[in-house]
């Protein structure tokens, strides 16, 4: 087993972001280097100058493009280097262990998401129903969501149909940089929720982040069809499509 690949497996298993640089042509063909966002490196390319230049190029990639192909010239030696950032998987946090959440977990996993299901009701949140979820957390969203460190790689789908769960969950999500916040329910239901969120201090700008009715309008009624519509909307948001 290549040492670099073993190290990469460890980094991915630990949920770390890491850049992989490969010399694909020229001096040092086949050379490998891993670079972490904090500047740590493992592996060396043939010259210290090339190692330093590739490290810098890799660091510039984090938070931007996923991959880049660059030609580096050190002295009279040319190296063609492919650099790619392997980010941790996107996360989907589902509030409400309802029937719809079961196919939603399945579709999300197929799309490469890490899935977390949260519900305070132990009857719904059972390991039998959610064997495919990466995490199943039984408790109130206002206790649990703050412990999940919601960041820009997170997507939150609020599905419980119960204001005691939905409103606090939306409030935590609105105060996080989550990439996507969707809420199941009609516009009328949402208007009531919005009123309660305003009482908690939500601004119009925050409320505008909520996708409601949730999911793209595919016209489906079955749980599987709605789950597909939700994942379709999340994919569109991640790809910067304005809908």
């Amino acid at each position: 087993m290549s040492a670099w690949f073993e190290r990469l497996e460890q980094a991915l298993a630990a949920g770390e972001a890491v850049a992989v640089a490969t010399v694909v042509a020229g001096m040092g063909l086949g050379g490998k280097m891993l670079v972490w966002p904090d500047g740590r490196c493992e592996g060396e390319l043939p010259t210290p100058a090339l190692t330093a230049a590739v490290r810098e190029a890799a660091l510039a990639l984090f938070g931007g493009a996923d991959a880049d192909r660059r030609t580096f010239t050190v002295g009279d030696q040319v190296s063609d280097v492919f650099i790619e950032v392997l980010a941790p998987p996107p996360r989907l946090i589902i509030v409400g262990a309802v029937h719809l959440a079961i196919p939603l977990v399945r579709f999300a996993r197929i799309l490469g998401f890490h899935t977390t299901v949260v519900d305070a009701r132990p009857v719904f949140a059972t390991p039998e129903r959610f064997a495919e979820a990466d995490r199943l957390l039984v408790g109130w969203p206002d206790d649990i969501l703050p412990t999940l460190a919601l960041d820009a790689g997170c997507h939150v789908a609020v599905l419980s149909h119960d204001d005691k769960l939905d409103v606090p969950a939306l409030w935590v999500a609105l105060n996080s940089p989550a990439r996507y916040i969707g809420a199941l329910g009609s516009r009328k239901t949402m208007a009531k929720r919005a009123q309660r969120l305003r009482e908690l201090g939500a601004t119009d700008e925050q409320l505008a982040r909520i996708h409601n009715p949730i999911g793209l309008d595919l016209g489906g009624r079955r749980a599987e069809e709605i789950a597909l519509a939700i994942m379709a909307e999340i994919v569109a948001v991640r790809n910067g499509r304005r809908l």
Binding site: M1, T22, F82, E84, P89
Partner: protein, 103 residues
Amino acid sequence: MRELLSEIKRWRQQGKAVALATVVRAYGSSPRPLGAKMAVSAAGDMAGSVSGGCVESAVVQEALAVIADGRPRLLRYGIADEWAQGVGLACGGEIEVFVERIA
């Protein structure tokens, strides 16, 4: 990459050597993005993809050669007619695929 790890692990447990193919350049309307990957075992098993299916079988052959001699290779595929081996991309795109042995 992540989606290939379990398959790669399984092949290794079966004692098979493994090569990894990565799209390192994509021009025109190529079907898979930069960084798309395919893993190939010494037994010819494959996981993932580097095109819409147009060049995979050729890449498997090259990957077996990489496993055999350990030397990485940079492959280039374009529109089918331009290439003597008759393997190419129907979409009119052009890709470069880097193949290396990882285990």
